[in-house]
């Protein structure tokens, strides 16, 4: 069976290599992809949308519909992880607690016994003692990571970046917090309720901006009409519309990344993580 699979894979590889010679050379200005709409985007993007980075203007304005459903796909991925992995009935039979003053770890077989005690704090079963350097470094790094993520979201008009990348980096900063401390620390900052709310909010912001354009009397996601309420000229309002949409994408992506990490690392119990 393995050999049949190998032969099939080799054959399809050969077919791919055979068809490869009909593809246009890389960067060929006469290839079909470079002849129809690409020159128009490259020529008119700056005049029409006031966005120097053509990738962003194509992604969020000319092909805004695609990006809207990409965001919906990300939302659905988070929803699928929630439905498949989340376990609601968690019966905890035992727990580990650390005495804050002495650092002594005790193993309690009565569930939730010391959860509200001020002298003890809960630690994971796989807890590793006193990773002070790691924690301090992460605590020091996380604000800078988040600042960089905000820069990536806001500066997507002029440099590579945008909602997807910035959202992933924002999510990664919270994931780093959950890894370096523990899952409960991460959940204290961004709890499950706000994760669910934010992952829906991002899609809502994106479609909401599209719907505002519709109500103002233009096409769906045609940001030029936003000039009526923003008080700037249509070209600049396109730029603002792109920015609003990117923020929506970033919110969804961030929330979904944190959510997927939480469900995977805690087997859906959101109790003890990696």
């Amino acid at each position: 069976m393995r050999y049949i699979a190998l032969i099939v894979v080799l054959l399809s590889g050969l077919v791919l290599l055979y068809t490869e010679k009909d593809l246009p050379p890389w960067g060929d200005p006469n290839s079909p992809a470079s002849l129809h709409v690409s020159p128009k985007y490259l020529r008119d993007s700056l005049q029409e949308t006031a966005v120097p980075n053509v990738v962003t203007s194509v992604l969020a304005d000319y092909r805004g519909y695609d990006t809207m459903f990409e965001t919906t796909v990300i939302f659905c991925a988070g929803l699928a992880c929630f439905v498949l992995l989340r376990v609601f009935k968690v019966e905890r039979k035992e727990a580990h607690y650390r005495h804050k003053a002495t650092g002594l770890i005790i193993h309690v077989k009565v569930p939730n016994l010391l959860d509200n005690s001020s002298e003890f704090e809960r630690v994971d079963t796989m807890w590793v003692p006193h990773d002070l350097i790691l924690k301090t470094m992460c605590r020091f790094l996380i604000p800078f990571i988040q600042l960089f993520a905000l820069y990536v979201v806001a500066h997507g008009h002029h440099s590579p970046g945008g909602g997807f990348q910035g959202g992933v980096i924002l999510g990664a900063s919270i994931i780093l917090l959950s890894i370096s401390f523990d899952l409960r620390t991460g959940l204290e900052r961004v709890n499950e309720r706000s994760i669910s709310l934010m992952s829906a909010t991002g899609v809502f912001v994106f479609t909401g901006i599209g719907a505002i354009c519709l109500f103002l009397g233009s096409q769906f996601l045609n940001y030029g009409i936003l000039s009526k309420i923003l008080g700037v000229d249509p070209v600049m309002s396109r730029s603002w519309g792109i920015f609003g949409v990117e923020v929506g994408v970033a919110i969804t992506v961030m929330a979904v990344m944190i959510g997927i990490y939480n469900y995977i690392s805690s087997e859906g119990k959101l109790d003890e993580g990696l």
């Binding site: 890389w26 980075n53 990738v55 962003t56 990536v152 590579p160 970046g161 945008g162 997807f164 990348q165 992933v168 980096i169 999510g171 990664a172 994931i175 890894i179 990344m257 997927i260 990490y261 995977i264 690392s265 087997e267 993580g273 990696l274």
Partner: protein, 81 residues
């Protein structure tokens, strides 16, 4: 010079891809996937697609490796059956 870098990176992509399939240790596979994504990211940026390279670096090399490791953390070294 750019041509040589292309060839080296492409070779590394193929090597990491084959190694990720062949190797038995799951954690090593996750790390090799990260290396693969990083090489792809370098390839994208060589070709001038900086936005795609950025996405590949943050999603492929960063977060998906974390997801893999988080999932592998809940597996055991030997199979139960």
């Amino acid at each position: 010079m750019g041509w040589h870098v292309d060839i080296i990176i492409l070779t590394l992509v193929v090597i990491t891809a084959i190694a990720a399939i062949q190797i038995k240790d799951l954690l090593a596979t996750a790390i090799l996937f990260g290396a693969y994504s990083f090489m792809m990211c370098v390839l994208w940026s060589i070709m001038g697609a900086v936005d795609v390279a950025f996405t590949e670096a943050s999603v492929g090399a960063g977060v998906s490796t974390v997801f893999f490791v988080a999932a592998i953390f809940h597996t055991t070294r030997r199979s139960q059956d």
